[in-house]
Symmetry: D2
Subunit: 342 residues, 4 copies
């Protein structure tokens, strides 16, 4: 922190789908603000609160013990109206009326687009903090909420394994991540799933039911084990896990049961990694604001804080870890055996 | 144990849908068998193993640390063929060839019907142990697996609450229990759900979407809180939680997200109550066998071991706790307010 | 509720050591109060709040989503001064000034003694709700918090088992319950511990280190398994688990590691059984007050609500379940084998 | 894998204190071995198994569903005798008799010293895999087991917070990590602890009781909140958490309760990060062996697999993340406030 700017008031909001760790990020913003002598305001319900001028003053005592909980105490929302110019103008007016120097936006790509839109109409600094379970933002090694979602999906897969083993059965667990297979790949790998159906694997050559059934039968034969657990990313199969399970039973007489985790992936005590990441990013965001920066997202790359141009976060692609994909999809796939030295 | 019968060999199997705690019951049977000097055999894959004569000898060291895990190390299965007379005769032959004096069957009502069927063709003693997450057997205060299923459903509901609160949203969580609302009622009560859709409540006057929407709106208004979480027992709505959520969105523009827990409710570390119940019932089953009894289920009523005629367990009805139903459905329902003294 | 009394205002407090589920009980009191048209006040910090007249008005919206959390939002405390007559007189004066008809006290035996003391000086109705993890109150099958404490102790024992198995080692886990072995017995049984050191087993013939070492060696030999996990109730060994582990290493060169769970047993999400029990008892307490009763504890016996004279709750003894004790201590103890028919 | 060496047989062992994820690493070694057409053997009980020639052949079916569990199915042990030359010679003889080309050692710094010692006497390749909860090995961003230990410590701290808040009390939780404060720092940060006593912070100026009490009082006053939770790394206070709590009560009449987590930090379902790391490192170790490497540890640095000279892993220091230390110890410490721009 060479030459911190002489800002005095910052505001924060949480926007879009909530993510476990948003509270920890909020707490970090407030505690860091307090540490540096800033006044901290929060707008409630995301951008809607900017429009409604629905704000509160937050100090340390308000946020002490919130990092244990998912959700967000200042509420989040999706605000469709915020794409309009007059909405952004109204937000700018409300921010200026409150003498806000910098606005910290905790959310995902939709929220960051909103931030860029606001930047066309407001002169204050805007700092993003990546809060989304999908981990689909460029420029940071992880987003807040991702680790928790993986832990919850893995826990569900572990539970399914118990019954799959007992009954020698096939199961499908549908997880979040419609555009990116991060939750799918990580939870599949952590739980030792037999199959992943991820956006990244569907691009080239979408899976057919026939190919899936063939894989199930070969794996069951090679392993001598009837239990077979699939991870399906949402929106990768028409009708989702429920429809795929019905198809397997109807077309192939293959008993299969679906689970649809849904928003369970967004609750419960946030994972340590999310709380620590959120704490680091919340402080980093305040320090970026003190440093005079704007239109950047606070990120962590290779264990070091970075500032990423906001537009890069959704315009550039955050790819899956190729080595993990190779290991889970090929090395651990019994039908893809390599001879030694080949 | 006043005059234990002079039995020497017992066999055990787990049958039907697996339930958390089946391993603990199996362990208790083996340890109690060992304690009383009995040889214990296990047939694998439920009744199918009786037909295939697929059995193993079990001793204490084999089952020491299995009560921590759901599933069943001797596997379970549904065996449709077992309703035939020749199947039961084959089973009887295999049991006699192995000199089994008593057979302990860990399972639910379908498994106990199979046991009664077998009893028509076999002279050995048959003791049932209630293993099903549904808690729908008469004669015992709880069945093995029920407490775990409730804990898992509650945990899911807790997680959903976090996001429901953050976004002021409506959610539906579908739980198991197609014929009985035990899991639904207990998890709804434990998690403070705003609505239950249970078999027992659907009998008289099934809920309509219109009535549901009206309740949602009134509760949200009275409470000043948008979060509303429903528990739906399986088979209580055409198409389940997914269909109901779509209906609410399509017909009433009411954003609502579904979760389908499915077999997640059957896995993970069994709850303490299930492990303790299973341990007590497993020992009780062996002691009933030593006592010369047959065609009974080992149960616990008001903290004391009981023996219940097998046929009673499915012919008589295990009702929901009326007081709990009243509390959750009326006292905690803000639209059903009573004035004092009325 | 045949003839509810015409009371209008009730107050509630949580007292003594906090117990998971106290919030659920508080919520139930408030929601039931609201249902019956009563005004509900809460005194903070237990009896101390009665003395300081530190109270708040609570309505449904204040307690909606607190049953998920341990602790107590109205705080608890131990109040040594409350044994004095002038303290009770001051409390009575404050209660009367607020026109309180009935006071509901959520706590353990110490809190109920305080309630009886207060009853000497105050004419209002006093209803107790059993909130203590120790389960050591007469007249109710379970106390609020007990199920959670057992679940947490079991989870710790499960984790210890993993490392005990990997290293073939001996471990001691110290759990709460200085006067009663409920947590010790239940967690030992649920986790399959090799040894329990409970108050109830120590009465006749306290365990010596030599006898313990002998048991360890015999069990390890019989089972062919080095892992041996002990459950020690607090105050049953001078210096606790740490001292006993040191003694085993120093005197017998037997490597042994201690764990001291302490207040971990009082936190985290309350178990379903505690939330349901607390909900039922909170409502029951309000209905007992409406029914004109006083100086009773709301309890549950054999699944039915009961009212127990307050003094009985600590003057009479709540014994351990003899059958569970026999099973865990004898049937599952490999050194106590019975021959068949002996 | 450009030119894999023509090795045919590899062996694996787990050594030293067990760490959650060792099973996942073992599974990865076996599955990767199978994938590349290698035969895989395991020696049981760490180096002791090398001396006793206690080995088994492992194939995929043996390790399919073990990554869910902590501990190690091939057991671990500390083997003091292995520092001797004749022990290493015996090990070499046994490895050669079995035609082992490469030995993969999953363990911590002690195990890697043993590996270097063995390398003096054996010509085969030796590859280390970092398995220790302490995260104190140079050359890898994380060690297997660390993430799980942090999650367990955080969970304990969360539970303590509930009771600390309810009672406005002070607590100490003792965690593992005698030489390195990784678990202490991460769990303190994740749980929002008020104080850390870590090796790294004790070096310069060890904490006195007087200074600690002063901090407690100032924090409680600034925050207006009595709850204060400390994280103490093992071996940083004479007598540990129990002694420090007694000291605070005896010398300062400050009620304080200790928890000693002990080996609880090594059990339960491994965290996703540990399972994924272990899977990646297990495969990496096999591929390093195929690549002809020896006397290296398979590590991950900035998301990419690396090979680190074995001796570096304990001779060089893995420092705490300075930014996290600064945030938790200074920014979030209310007694260290900075004015804006200072």
């Amino acid at each position: 922190m060479s030459t911190p700017a002489k800002i005095q008031r910052i505001a924060v909001l949480t926007s879009g789908g909530d993510a476990p760790g948003m509270n920890a990020a909020l707490r970090a913003v407030v505690l860091a603000g307090e540490h540096y002598g800033l006044e901290v305001f929060a707008f409630k319900h995301g951008y809607q609160g900017l429009l409604d001028n629905d704000h509160i003053r937050l100090c340390g005592a308000d946020v002490l013990h919130i990092l244990q909980y998912s959700g967000t105490i200042i509420k989040s929302a999706r605000c469709k109206r915020f794409v309009d110019a007059d909405a952004a103008e109204l937000a700018a007016k409300n921010l200026d009326a409150l003498d806000i120097d910098a606005l910290i936006i905790i959310g995902g790509d939709g929220s960051f687009r909103g931030a860029e839109h606001l930047a066309q109409f407001w002169n204050g600094q805007i700092i993003g903090v990546p809060g989304t379970i999908d981990n689909d933002l460029y420029g940071t090694d992880a987003t807040i909420g991702y680790a928790t979602a993986v832990a919850i999906a893995m826990d569900a897969l572990d539970k399914i394994r118990d019954t799959a083993d007992a009954m020698d059965r096939v199961f499908i667990v549908e997880v979040m991540g419609r555009n990116a297979g991060f939750i799918g790949l990580s939870s599949a790998m952590a739980a030792g799933s037999e199959r992943m159906i991820l956006p990244e694997l569907q691009n080239d050559k979408p899976l057919t039911v026939a190919a899936l059934v063939k894989h199930i039968e070969r794996v069951q034969k090679i392993r001598g084990d009837g239990s077979y657990v699939m991870v399906l990313s949402e929106h990768q199969w028409p009708g989702g896990a429920v429809a795929l399970a019905e198809q397997l039973e109807a077309e192939y007489h293959l008993p299969c049961r679906p689970c649809l985790l849904g928003h369970i992936q967004r609750g419960g005590p946030p994972a340590p990694a999310d709380r620590i990441l959120a704490s680091e990013l919340g402080v980093h965001a305040v320090e970026l604001a003190l440093d005079g920066q704007t239109r950047v997202m606070a990120g962590i790359k290779n264990h070091a804080p970075v500032a990423v141009p906001l537009a890069d976060t959704w315009q550039k692609k955050n790819p899956l870890n190729k080595n993990l994909l190779r290991i889970q999809h090929e090395i651990f796939n019994p039908v893809k055996k390599n001879g030694n030295g080949q």
